[in-house]
């Protein structure tokens, strides 16, 4: 399979790889996917007192497109409010990365990941 330039760039130089302490109250963690399906994404956001995402990190087990989708997402959510982050659509990620049809599910997974992370944060801070 041939990969697009942007996928290759994120794959070779993934942004914001890392891990936050899940137990801290200002951290939201979303872990989605399943090993059996060949992709698992963990996306974490650090939220400040104004409800703005100050920092984001990820780790992904999956194909190059899954890695690129989550890497790009961490760039996009930084500086956004929780609602703004939740409004990011998988189609925008897919378009930016020029994902082929068989890889659209990777961007869907990334959208699921940010939604799960926001929900996790809100549940903790409810």
């Amino acid at each position: 399979m041939a990969y697009g330039e942007k996928v290759l760039d994120h794959y070779e130089n993934p942004r914001n790889v890392g891990k936050f302490d899940q137990s801290e109250s200002n951290i939201g963690t979303g872990m989605v996917g399943a090993p059996a399906c060949g992709d698992v994404m963990r996306l974490q956001i650090k939220v400040n007192d104004d409800g703005v995402i100050e920092d984001a990190v990820f780790k992904t087990y999956g194909c190059g497109s899954a890695i690129a989708s989550s890497s790009l997402l961490t760039e996009w959510v930084k500086g956004k409010t929780l609602d703004e982050a939740k409004a990011i659509k998988n189609t925008e990620l897919a378009e930016e990365l020029a994902l082929p049809p068989v890889k659209i599910h990777c961007s869907v997974l990334a959208e699921d990941a940010i939604n799960a992370a926001v929900e996790d944060y809100r549940k903790k801070n409810a």
């Binding site: 794959y11 989605v32 399943a34 399906c37 060949g38 698992v40 963990r42 087990y61 194909c63 190059g64």
Partner: protein
């Protein structure tokens, strides 16, 4: 990268091999207006006679490698066609005796899909589970045999994991029950000694392009004594004793003959070299954490090593290893997102199936290639594990199977 060609290092010899220069030299003699271009079936002039002499020489070479009589060799377009002809041809011919067939879940798609077609036609097929090491358990095979079983089809060497089945023992069990035994030997001819004069095998499929011959060329061994009969799948001019019509592809056949002739001469030496390369590769990787060999290590063809790098996904690993030409799972199925059905049949869990890489070495692989490969693989696996949440969890001592994953 290979320094000389500036192309990735080729470690996918199980998918296909380049045509040996010596084979190319023979084939060219049968192409072009000055060449021996006649139709081997033309009886009325020397163009035909010389072409026929060439195909019959080649038939002898093919037969010689596997201990067969040249009259037992039917030329086809490849192992796919040979498998189809063997399975559908014998099932159809013997349908009055019974409509039950036995095969194994790790067979090549050419065998499995021929069986699926027969199921659509009203046959019953038993798909045996292999043992964890990829080998068929003889007792389980015997237990599956029924009075209406007419055919057992078990491959010699598996294309993904390289394990060698004990076809002699399986064949003897078939003989006891008077069941026809077909063996797909696409991956074993020229790599494992085969002596059909003494093996209890009735039908055997061969492919030229797996042993340095041309693509689109193969053969089916059809035993003469006792005679095995097949219903033709390709009808026409009655070539190949009526079993496979179509003008003989002289240059292709000559190429296959030369490839088989060379294989007979060089197999022993080549295997020794390949075992050394395989050991070099495994020695360079085995101290890494969480790496697993798929398939039996001892009962394995010389050039194959199939390894799972746990917690790393195969497709991304291939992407990181773009300087190596390797495959994850079978080359035929890597276009889909399914993990390898062969590894699943061994009972490997999905993560391990998703993280498998097949390295297959061959005639032109060097020790320097392997050295480079080891370095690339180690750094790619390390990089991807740093990116893998599953690796984090493993390192934190979390049991991944204890988590309820949402399948998607």
């Amino acid at each position: 990268m290979n320094d000389k060609t500036n192309r990735p290092i080729y470690l996918d010899y199980s998918a296909t091999t380049p045509i040996d220069e010596r084979v190319v030299a023979e084939m060219i003699k049968y192409m072009g207006p000055e060449a021996t271009f006649g139709n081997p079936a033309s009886r009325s002039h020397s163009y035909g006679w010389t072409a026929e002499a060439a195909t019959e020489d080649a038939r002898q070479h093919v037969a010689d490698l596997v201990g067969a009589d040249p009259r037992e060799i039917v030329f086809t377009s490849g192992a796919t066609e040979s498998d189809n002809l063997a399975i559908k041809g014998s099932a159809h011919f013997n349908q009055k005796r019974g409509k039950h067939i036995i095969t194994c879940k790790t067979e090549h798609k050419a065998v499995l899909d021929s069986c699926r077609q027969l199921e659509r036609e009203g046959y019953e097929v038993t798909y045996l589970d292999p043992e964890k090491n990829g080998l068929v358990d003889l007792e389980k095979l015997k237990a599956a045999m029924r009075d209406d079983t007419t055919l057992v089809s078990i491959m010699h060497v598996n294309n993904e994991i390289g394990v060698i089945q004990d076809i002699e023992a399986i064949g003897n069990a078939c003989r006891e029950r008077k069941i026809i035994f077909h063996v797909d030997a696409a991956q074993s001819a020229g790599k494992v000694p085969i002596d059909l004069a003494n093996l209890p095998v009735d039908l055997m499929s061969f492919s030229a392009h797996k042993i340095y011959g041309p693509k689109g060329m193969g053969a089916l061994y059809v035993q003469r004594k006792p005679r095995i009969r097949l219903e033709a799948q390709m009808h026409g001019g009655g070539h190949e004793r009526g079993m496979r019509s179509g003008t003989l592809a002289t240059h292709q056949i000559v190429g296959m003959g030369e490839a088989f002739r060379i294989a007979k001469q060089e197999m022993a030496m080549e295997n020794e070299r390949l075992i050394n390369l395989r050991n070099q590769l495994w020695d360079g990787l085995k101290d890494m954490e969480e790496v697993y060999i798929n398939g039996d290590f001892e009962q394995r063809v010389a050039g194959n090593l199939n390894i799972s790098f746990n917690y790393v996904e195969g497709e991304s690993l291939l992407m990181a290893l773009k300087d190596l030409a390797i495959s994850s799972g079978s080359a035929c199925t890597s276009a889909s997102l399914e993990p390898s059905y062969v590894l699943r049949a061994l009972g490997r869990n999905d993560e391990l199936a998703h993280s498998s890489i097949r390295f297959s070495m061959g005639r032109y692989t060097t020790s320097t290639d392997i050295e480079t490969t080891i370095a690339h693989v180690r750094s790619a696996v390390e990089k991807l594990r740093d990116l893998s949440p599953l690796w984090d969890m493993f390192k934190d001592g979390i049991d991944i199977d204890s988590i309820e994953w949402a399948a998607h």
